[in-house]
């Protein structure tokens, strides 16, 4: 018998999950489940939508209404679900490749529309499932199977990208900082509009090994020592923040939501008759 939370939010017959030992995805998936549980949402009114990749296996494990869709298209499917039934709480669990490369266009346009969906990107900095190819969030200079001499691309800052595209809630959390992550996810789910949370994961198998990060424990210690809350960072000097990664709630703004706007158009044209 697992814990009460796992029992009530996961399909325990499918556990243990497929993720590697030390993979941050398991922690992040639990954070999402805990946030849903803390908010007291009706499980039958929650939809988890995922695409393809390590992260997207989450839809198979979580015991809600779930939709495991095609590569990069999770947000497109989620848009359809939300428009068809705006009562539902729609949460997309996607990866860095799925959201920012293959599904990059769906991602920015969902942000632009400000549709009430929460997009949680499990960012492991690499394409794990297919063997360690570099992704749009692989840091410059780091290695992947397709970048054996180091990646020359600049990496995306996903919350900044989402904000620029029109999302009304953005933030970042890590697999190490669990209580903060759960709080952030609760706020993201509650925002009426598109919320984007980047969850920094840990991939010891591909990203870690390719870049000689020293194994699971060193990678989590790196997050512990290098990720700083945005509120704390405000009081720090720029030199102290060199090489650090900010986390916490970055941006939150009220703006009319897409489904409500759509409903208003229906009303304007004579209503649902």
């Amino acid at each position: 018998m697992p814990s009460k939370l796992i029992e009530s939010t996961m399909r325990t017959e499918n556990l243990p999950h497929i993720w590697c030992p030390g993979c941050g995805h398991g922690i992040l998936m639990r954070d999402v489940a805990q946030a849903i549980d803390n908010l007291g949402l009706d499980h039958d009114k929650v939809v988890i939508v995922s695409g393809i990749g390590c992260s997207s296996r989450a839809a198979g494990y979580m015991d809600f209404n779930t939709l495991h869709t095609t590569h990069g298209r999770a947000i497109a499917f989620a848009t359809g679900v939300k428009l068809a039934n705006p009562e539902l709480t729609v949460i997309v669990i996607t990866g860095d490749g799925d959201a920012a490369a293959i599904g990059g266009n769906h991602f920015i346009h969902a942000c632009r529309r400000n549709i009430d969906i929460t997009v949680v990107v499990f960012n492991n900095n690499i394409y794990g499932m297919t063997g360690g190819q570099y992704s749009p969030t692989t840091p410059t200079g780091e290695k992947g199977t397709t970048a054996p001499y180091g990646n020359i691309d600049y990496d995306f800052d996903l919350p900044e990208l989402a904000k620029a595209a029109g999302a009304t809630f953005t933030g970042r959390c890590t697999a190490y900082h669990v209580p903060q992550a759960i709080k952030l996810l609760e706020a993201a789910i509650q925002n009426k509009g598109l919320s984007m949370v980047e969850g920094l994961s840990v991939c010891p198998t591909y990203y870690g090994r390719k870049n000689k990060k020293g194994g699971v424990i060193k990678m989590y210690n790196w997050q512990k020592n290098n990720c700083i809350d945005v509120k704390k960072a405000e009081k720090m000097d720029p030199e102290e923040l060199e090489g650090k990664i900010l986390m916490g709630e970055f941006y939150h703004k009220e703006k009319p939501e897409y489904c409500e706007q759509y409903e208003a158009i229906i009303e304007k044209c004579g209503g649902n008759k």
């Binding site: 669990v178 209580p179 699971v216 424990i217």
Partner: protein, 64 residues
Amino acid sequence: MEKKLVLNSKWCKGCGICAEFCPKDVLAIDHEHCYVVNEKDCIKCGLCELRCPDYAIWLEEEDK
């Protein structure tokens, strides 16, 4: 209500996160599985439960 540390070694992949970040060194890894070495020092903070990627350790409330 007392809380009790429970382990499910079938799900444990022995990653070592729980043992590394336990503030009281209650846990250790042996033969690729987590086990309790020092239960009396456990302060029931639950950090192991929060950080276990495989849901193999948790605090359970038990009636006394």
